[in-house]
Symmetry: C2
Subunit: 397 residues, 2 copies
């Protein structure tokens, strides 16, 4: 019988974002004409930079002419884009070959699909609070999950697992806490993985938000990572491609399966992608090439700077008013501690009703998120400024 | 230990297309300056039609301005596009609601991912010869496969399975045989599914190539299909979006799990997509809206007509010369029987060496494909004409 994959029942329906929207909409309806400041979703808000728009236009125009039209591309991505990314890594002192880079339609699908190349018996370690995709994709596949606490006491960077984990999901800079791992912290995970023949799955989607040059922006800055780590990256947050859809995953050729006879993980991911994916949009890939041009890098860096100025405004504004804030220094997220012992949802209601600000309840990201709010620095400058002012004026820290 | 999903070893590496390319490249190298006619890959070759180019341009320009920029859209797709597709179905007498349509980055990922909502114990029936994605995605998930013979004796439309199958993959018009199922043939599968509580997964990616109005272009033209069928569709072949990437999957709300307490399949696919997918490109979706406009439908229909004229030229040219041909009447593929008892690869070599034509060996699609070649009607008109002439002049039927 066509029975359902019963493991879907183990994934909590993500009511959180729906409830956030529902509550915000209800408030808006009850208070017509009142401005609401939405700092909930981690969604880019500024238009694409000019050089990237030009690249996308070029992508469209190529399809309009018989001489330049292309249909299916390689599932692994446009060779020019893979090469440009390898050069981009090289410019940062990281050695990654074009054939180790797989272009995708974004980091989220890759984060969700990568575990499919590993056995169902693998144990997956994820941080708590967690970007839910790492957890839910493994639950759906029936894998056991180990949670690594990311709490105030450890600066929101978890300790090594104290039980065996085969897959270690790390996100740095972190969504939702905004914490960025140091070299030493990341090295500890790489060393654990090498010692235990585990694989680190490193989500670097927010790497471009790092302001301190001493913090690693790629896991391959750490010695040994080419033997134990997969890196997932994206143009979404660095170039405003959240809607355009373009990312990539690096699977080094030096990363072998537990049983070396089984070959390299690169080969397995290649098999997965050629079987189940049909390449990223050729228009988006032309846009990606434009992002990596000198002009594109300059312009997108300025845009990231702009969002990070937003983050600084939120962080400073709330801290000066007496709130306890974390993150927001190398990430577009401020991890705000709920004042007066309030729960995430309790403070959500207060922020909405008294300050007309929508933020994301930390409890939605796991038990350690309870008592926190994720405040996003994505938003137009005036929205950010008004939201901070409204919180400071209307909410007791 | 981070062991590999060992089921990947059960998926034959798809050497076929690689070998096709390798052999064609070797021939080209050995015969410099000699024109080779490539009718192998099912890849669109004509530029996008003007109204669709305009739609894509509009998609890019929206992202260039602060007032119209959008980031993440709904994972299920742009509400305008879902509505336009529901209206497009309605214009053909098919009733599908916008909330039953899930926009994706193409039919291939959906064909590969759809089975993940079903239990690992489900038995999947696929045609032989088969578009490999249906088979391989189920092998990787560990499901048992039942093969349904599609051979000359049954007009390449398989009989009902004579053992229990939970999932029934049908592709009509068919890739690779070009056979299109009649209403009665499709109804037999719908009735089987209803009687057995199975689910038909109907790949209608080539529906627009149907020339005979009495043949079903959507499975929902068959009574009862809304209670047992999922339909997967695409803009790839109907509008040249092979590289742009845009498709959709219909999961009716009337389609419930075997255990009705588990709810509707629509809810499960929604869960899968919201967890593991992040929406199709907003630029591609603007293009999809343009395809569905009156002008877009007119222009893309003319393009499909053009490819079908190619198919008619191939079919008639080869048949008149004494070859045995199937398909190509409601599909862009001609299923050519290898002459003189040659194997697929034997005839491949002869076609390449004597006629300088590249076609796809049928054996690559399964055991029943042995002794056949898939000849694609995608190609510029002059290439098609030269290829047919070259076969007729140089190959003995």
């Amino acid at each position: 019988m066509a029975n359902i994959n019963s493991r879907y029942a183990d994934v909590s329906e993500n009511y959180m974002f729906r409830d956030v929207v529902r509550k915000a909409d209800a408030f808006a309806k009850a208070n017509p004409g009142v401005e609401i400041f939405k700092l909930g979703v981690g969604n880019t808000t500024e238009p694409l930079v000019p050089s990237v728009v030009e690249g996308l236009r070029h992508g469209v125009e190529k399809l309009a002419s018989r001489e330049t039209y292309t249909g299916y591309g390689d599932e692994q991505g446009d060779a020019r884009l893979r090469k440009a990314l390898a050069e981009w890594y090289a410019s940062r002192g990281v050695s990654v070959g074009p054939d180790e880079i797989f272009i995708s339609d974004g980091a989220k699908p890759d984060c969700a699909n990568i575990a499919s190349i590993f056995s169902d018996e693998s144990v997956a370690a994820v941080q708590d609070p967690v970007y839910p995709v790492y957890r839910d994709s493994n639950i759906i596949a029936g894998r056991r999950i180990v949670y690594l606490d990311a709490v105030e006491a450890n600066g929101f960077v978890p300790a090594l697992p104290n039980e065996r984990a085969d897959l270690l999901y790390l996100c740095s800079p972190n969504n939702p806490t905004g914490a960025a791992m140091s070299r030493e912290q990341l090295k500890a995970f790489v060393d654990y993985a090498l010692a235990n023949r585990s694989v680190v799955i490193f989500d670097a989607a927010y790497a471009e938000y790092i302001r301190d040059g001493s913090l690693p922006r790629s896991i391959y800055e750490i010695a040994g990572a080419r033997e134990c780590a997969i890196e997932i990256q994206s143009f979404s947050k660095s170039a405003g491609f959240t809607g355009v859809r373009l990312g990539w995953t690096v699977v080094p050729r030096t990363l072998t399966a537990e049983d070396a006879n089984e070959g390299t993980l690169n080969r397995y991911w290649n098999r997965r992608q050629t079987t189940m994916f049909n390449g990223a949009s050729n228009i988006a890939q032309e846009g990606g090439l434009a992002v990596l041009s000198p002009e594109g890098q300059r312009e997108t860096r300025a845009q990231v700077d702009h969002y990070m100025e937003n983050a600084a405004l939120i962080r400073a504004g709330l801290a000066n008013a007496g709130f306890t804030v974390f993150g927001g220094e190398h990430a577009p997220y401020i991890w705000l501690k709920c004042p007066r012992g309030l729960s995430s949802w309790g403070f959500f209601d207060e922020l909405l009703e008294k300050a007309r600000v929508v933020a994301t309840p930390g409890a939605g990201f796991g038990k350690n998120g309870e008592g926190y709010m994720r405040v996003s620095a994505f938003g137009h400058r005036e929205t950010i400024e008004k939201a901070v002012r409204s919180i400071v004026e209307n909410i007791k820290p």
